[in-house]
Amino acid sequence: MSTLDALRRPRQQPAAPDGGGAGRRLLEVRGLTTRFDTPDGLVHAVNGVDFYVDRGEIVGVVGESGCGKSVTIRSILGLVRPPGRVVDGTAYFDGVDLLGLRGADLRRLRGKEIGFIAQNPFSALNPVMRIHRQFANIMAAHGVKSDGEARDRARAALADVGIAGPDRVLDGYAHQLSGGMAQRVVIAMAMLLNPAFVVADEPTTGLDLTVQRQILDLIRRLVREHGQSMLLVTHDLGVVAQYCDRVVVMYAGKVIEHGTVRQVLNDPRHPYTQALIRAIPRPGQPLVHLTGRLPDLVNYPAGCPFRARCPHAFEPCGHIVPDAVTMASGQTYWCHLRQEKEEVG
């Protein structure tokens, strides 16, 4: 934890809300707001997002395209590039606000403390550099200077992700790998320095279904074995149901509901979450679908962003942004339609 210790300020200000530090909470994001300055106007991509990840948890972030899920994690990891910029919020990771870090410090943290698995493994791998050199570079940046040691550790990391002949992969290039193999290599790199926290952005979206299953099983096994926490971004509720502990549902750049996977999938409270679950085709059942489309993120609507598509919208939805409703179970949703009995705060 030396990297973090160096970055952690003396405790004159609260490190993180809700205890933070060495407590249960690993990541706490508050009020995260990210905008993109485009020729069409200012795009409100992420609008005051709050969520957290506890130690040992796998948290899913789910939503349809344009909901801001990828921009959210890219904001936290310092990967938003102009014309995008994070304009507000905090993201306390083990007591350090990631949004307040300089580029070099953040880069040091990525890899050592936070591993990142991108959607497209081939964009994460250097096409003109042998795989073993890419492993060696990561380790060199974190103090492993001996090529022999680097190779031993790379071999072990590849064996850990189920690659049978690691030397053949290490001596080759990315283009010689299948999609599934390339993603295994990226996972091995993300796990190389045993980070406490792993962020995966749609890690299996481009892969075949049977391979997807193998990769998700692999990621979960590694995260559990190493006692890591993970943020898993996906558009697939099946991935959430089978691989996550808690889930954060996003719509139009906002979190509209979060809770344990069981709470949210078995008893969704927000009309959008309900619609998303009903839109999955099930034999013998009529499809229930949403009409309309996402709100314009340039002229962001007042009130609830789901209002225009919501079957239950009523008067306040048009001009008042709904407050969080937190149930006794901890399940939280942002909607004016609250049933008194379920409400605690």
């Binding site: 075949d208 049977t210 509720l237 089978q242």
Partner: protein
């Protein structure tokens, strides 16, 4: 009589040198009027090649394609053009398949201009307006350009264009894969409604098990250029016999967190498409494979009425 009948169709692509891609290997299937045959498979299974072959957008290396009894491969260019009015296709990426410089009404009306050249302008306009309504678009959208529409609306335009000539069969190549879940449901509903109303046959190509299960009457499971299992959907989903079908169904993640996930069945990655499989195409990834699987040709054999499986020991790896 079947609407569409493919018999022993193979397709090889020559990549130069001695490298060949074996995209389809001895595939036979048929689609009847008013029914949906779903082709399910992963990338490289040959399912899209199959769809294009059915319309003769590409020519098979071997085998025959019949549509309403006519040998499609023997048709002249002019005859083929005439046939296309009855045999349409809808692609995965709605935006890429629509001309961005044409207005919606012109895009939808274009097949009429080609196939119903004697139709009066007035009749054509009326037909386009009727179809716009049928696919759930509003009349004001007729004047818009594809870029002004959402993904779901664009796919409705694609569907309108496909049905405007009153085809008897539509090939749907992953028609909802690029759409978000909430929009996908709208399009599937629309396709089901149109089929009930117009009685068209669908050849529905998809890799999405939830979608296939919802839309299909019969199903053909493809892997590496071959049909490995085919039968009535309900039966195949309830009692899959081929180890690949079993793995594919096990890989579809149920949205119910309380539903236990069956163990993953396959190991490793698929063969390269330039390798021709001797015997079973799944050999090497199969949990129950044995030597005889690659020592003999493995072909579809019936296991129940209309239910065929290409496996030397069907059902062996458990349901």
């Amino acid at each position: 009589m079947s609407l569409l009948e493919l018999a022993n169709v193979s397709k090889e692509f020559d990549l130069g040198g001695s490298t060949r891609v074996y995209a389809l290997d001895d595939v036979s299937l048929s689609v009847n009027a008013g029914e949906t045959l779903a082709i399910i498979g992963e990338s490289g299974s040959g399912k899209s090649t199959l769809g294009r072959l059915a319309l003769r957008l590409i020519e098979p290396t071997r085998g025959s394609v019949r549509f309403e009894g006519t040998d499609v491969l023997a048709l002249s260019a002019a005859e083929l053009r005439k046939l296309r009015a009855k045999l349409q296709i809808i692609f995965q990426e709605p935006f890429e398949s629509l001309n961005p410089r044409m207005r919606v009404a012109d895009i939808i009306g274009e097949p009429l201009a080609i196939h119903r050249s004697k139709m009066s302008v007035q009749d054509r306009r009326a037909r386009v307006a009727r179809v716009i309504e049928q696919v759930g678009l509003t009349p004001d959208m007729a004047k818009r350009y594809p870029g002004e529409l959402s993904g779901g609306q664009q796919q409705r335009v694609g569907i309108a264009r496909a049905i405007v000539t009153e085809p008897s069969l539509i090939v749907l190549d992953e028609p909802t894969s690029s759409l978000d879940l909430s929009v996908r449901a709208q399009i599937l509903q629309l396709l089901a409604d149109l089929q009930a109303e117009l009685g068209m046959g669908y050849l529905f190509i998809s890799h999405d098990i939830h979608t296939v299960r919802y839309v299909s009457d019969r199903i053909a499971v493809m892997y590496r250029g071959r049909v490995v299992e085919t039968g009535p959907s309900e039966q195949v989903f309830a009692d899959p016999q081929h180890p690949y079908t079993q793995a594919l169904l096990a890989a579809a993640l149920p949205v119910d967190p309380d539903q236990q996930l069956p163990p993953a069945r396959l190991v490793g990655d698929p063969l390269s498409p330039t390798q021709r499989a001797h015997g079973c195409v799944l050999y090497g990834r199969c949990p129950v494979g044995e030597d005889r699987c690659i020592q003999t040709e493995v072909r579809l054999v019936p296991v129940a009425v209309d239910h065929e499986v290409a496996c030397v020991k069907p059902g062996a790896s458990g349901g």
